[in-house]
Symmetry: C2
Subunit: 413 residues, 2 copies
């Protein structure tokens, strides 16, 4: 695998170079809106905006893939509206790749659940209490409307801790729903192709085409809680279906990080090497390093952006709580040596003042810096894989961030 760039026929993933010592690899995910270098971190733009930042700033930061959330967008502004805008890219003024999470996690964590059956989930909106019935087919329809480059199957995401029987039930449902998602997705592709052909034949666009609807990829989600046997079972079932990539879900929901890493060690080897592997909800610097070293290609997490909104910034020497008194007259940049737009112009003292005064600009500037920090870490990880120097980078990151035992957080609301 080392040094060989290959792309499996029909796949969307290409491995550029694998590590000689670890399952880590540098690769490219190909999407209708361009290629994404992996390992990649996706900022979370739940409702079609990464909180506080415009699409032009995401471009400036070098963001290559943004995560939006189908559950949230379905409730507000509604997926038909996004379809009528021409898809999520046009809606949010962002011409690069987008991934939508199916909303399984949100239905099970945010909404008031009314009834879960094999058919689907009856829930009440967390916004207005209105009742909705979500099925795998409906979830695919919504994500087709939204038109992201990569969409996720509808899964049952149990909380942590979760007893074995509940975790097993969630795996079984997730596998059945995955099959229905694939069927619905393939059927919708056929309709889209017929529509496109008809439109071509009639020299007009009979079907309003979403950007990226053509090459849209569907990923499956592997559940199983913290039970190795369930992870194995779910991974085997999911990888036997026709997904373009695989996510590891149901982690980063409150379990100790050691548990999460144990699940990765069991699950990742069962995912075909030629498929992109996506660890959902992870984004603290230490967990990004650990995930990459275990062969994860894609990550999303609210940590950099949520911490920023609360006044905590990420630096090479660890997180800083800007509200703290010592920064009141610290006229240095957030991170010495950082070349981001914020560090080039503003000081810790100014940011502290903005946070203490509840000025919106503070959270924006901190968000910008934290994303810059995280994207730069991913860049360094990609380089370290190519140069076979992962241990040095891991030691550096662990010295600054290795003491946090909590798992990362997933939802940006």
């Amino acid at each position: 695998m080392n040094g060989i760039s290959h792309r499996i026929s029909g796949g969307i993933f290409e491995i550029v170079k694998g590590s000689s010592k670890y399952p880590a690899r540098v690769g490219r995910v190909h999407t209708p809106h361009g290629s994404v270098e992996t390992p990649v971190f996706m900022p979370v733009g739940t409702l079609g905006s990464v909180k506080g930042l415009g699409s032009e700033e995401l471009e400036e930061l070098g963001v290559s893939l943004v995560l939006c959330n189908a559950y949230h967008l379905y409730l507000r502004p509604g997926s038909p509206l996004i379809a009528s805008a021409g898809g999520i890219h046009r809606f949010m003024g962002w011409n690069a790749p987008v991934l939508t999470d199916s909303g399984g996690y949100q239905v099970f964590s945010l909404a008031s659940l009314r009834k879960i059956t094999d058919e689907g989930v009856l829930f009440r909106s967390h916004i207005d209490g209105s009742e909705h019935f979500m099925t795998p087919e409906e979830c695919i329809r919504i994500q087709r409307d939204i038109g992201a480059d990569i969409i996720m199957a509808f899964d049952e995401c149990p909380p942590y801790p979760c007893d074995y029987d509940s975790a097993r039930g969630a795996v079984e449902r997730t596998v059945k729903w995955a099959e229905r998602c694939l069927e619905a997705w393939e059927a919708s592709l056929e309709v889209a192709n017929e529509g496109a052909e008809a439109a071509q034949g009639h020299a007009h666009r009979g079907v309003k085409a979403q950007d990226g609807a053509g090459g849209q990829a569907l990923f499956g989600i592997i559940q199983g809680g913290t039970y190795e046997s369930l992870r194995v079972e779910c991974a085997r079932a999911m990888t036997s279906m026709g997904f373009k990539g695989f996510a590891i879900g149901g982690l980063s929901v409150g379990e100790p990080k050691s548990e999460m890493y144990r699940m990765l060690d069991v699950t990742v080897p069962l995912i075909p090497e030629a498929s992109p592997r996506y660890l959902m909800g992870v984004g603290s610097p230490d967990a990004l390093v650990e995930g990459v070293m275990r062969g994860i290609d894609m990550f999303d997490c609210v940590i950099p952006t949520r911490l920023a909104r609360h006044g905590t910034v990420l630096t090479a020497s660890g997180p800083l709580t800007l509200r703290n008194r010592p920064y009141a007259d610290d006229f240095g940049p957030i991170e010495p040596g950082c070349d981001c737009r914020v560090c080039r112009r503003y000081t810790r003292a100014y940011l502290r003042h903005l946070f203490k005064s509840n000025e919106i600009l503070g959270l924006r500037l901190a968000t910008y810096h934290n994303l810059h920090f995280t994207l730069r870490l991913m860049e360094r990880l990609r380089r370290a894989i190519i140069e076979d120097s992962l241990e040095g980078l891991r030691d550096e990151v662990m010295a600054a961030y290795g003491n946090e035992g909590d798992s990362d957080q997933r939802d940006e609301t």
Copy 2:
């Protein structure tokens, strides 16, 4: 005056061209951080940030002068901190002109007043209830610390409506305080000069120099409520002192606009032509036009930014309330033909979604557009003065904005 560019010796203002029919004129205010073309609109950055926007965006917008507030900065983060940062410009990462309002308006409108005497005002902070005694001398000291290019005298700003005796009392106090402000300011300039000389002599900087402390200009504020005789009396007293420019204060505090215009008609002719004239708290499109036509050179107001935060955007055909239903699927820009960064990328539907979802980005984008709109209006006013075509522009703006009878709002908190 027409066509002649002249600068009064010792003054900071230069008239480029006056209108042939109105007191309106195009000019330049010279400051230690560069020249400002007038008539100018100053965005309000009360606490050292124009809410939601970074200094780099103000540059991009072409903002030439920002207003900060001495009362607010005195309470938070404290003027000594700003002094130790090297002044407000360095503190907020903004290398262009800044004006600080003295805080007279804020002391009288925001704080809990404890006692007003000729000596000064005892008040409680609106933030933490702490007690402070503000005097003209203290107000100058604070503004010297902050180090803006233009600072304002400490005035008593009565509310509207205000009975004659109270308005008269406020004028008398404002005039006495203005004299003390001038004395304190001149004394502080001498100290600064001696410090600079000493520093030069010792080949080091004995006094930490604020950017702009050298050429800092002090403006007087003309009060008088809505009483013509008091406006005349105050204008005569203020213009007999050594101020570099004159503000008309105590307007835009709730009185009908017709009253405000009546006061301008009385007051502006009493201000020397060679001095910049600043109408405090005005910024609605119609009032900007009316003020410019009456000879006002400088304006500040929270209207464009505050409206934006509440989801109202300014366009050539009037204000739009983006939260309204008709914009849900309006995929056009905020303002057709607008070349601002927001209009080039985002739609009304997207902005409406952001506002309905309480996404911070919405208010940022709307703020950016509204400032762009207002700055472009000022640019058009300057051109109309030079081309003697003010009536056409006035008619256009009045058709879109002429129905609002309320006065503008002053404080951005």
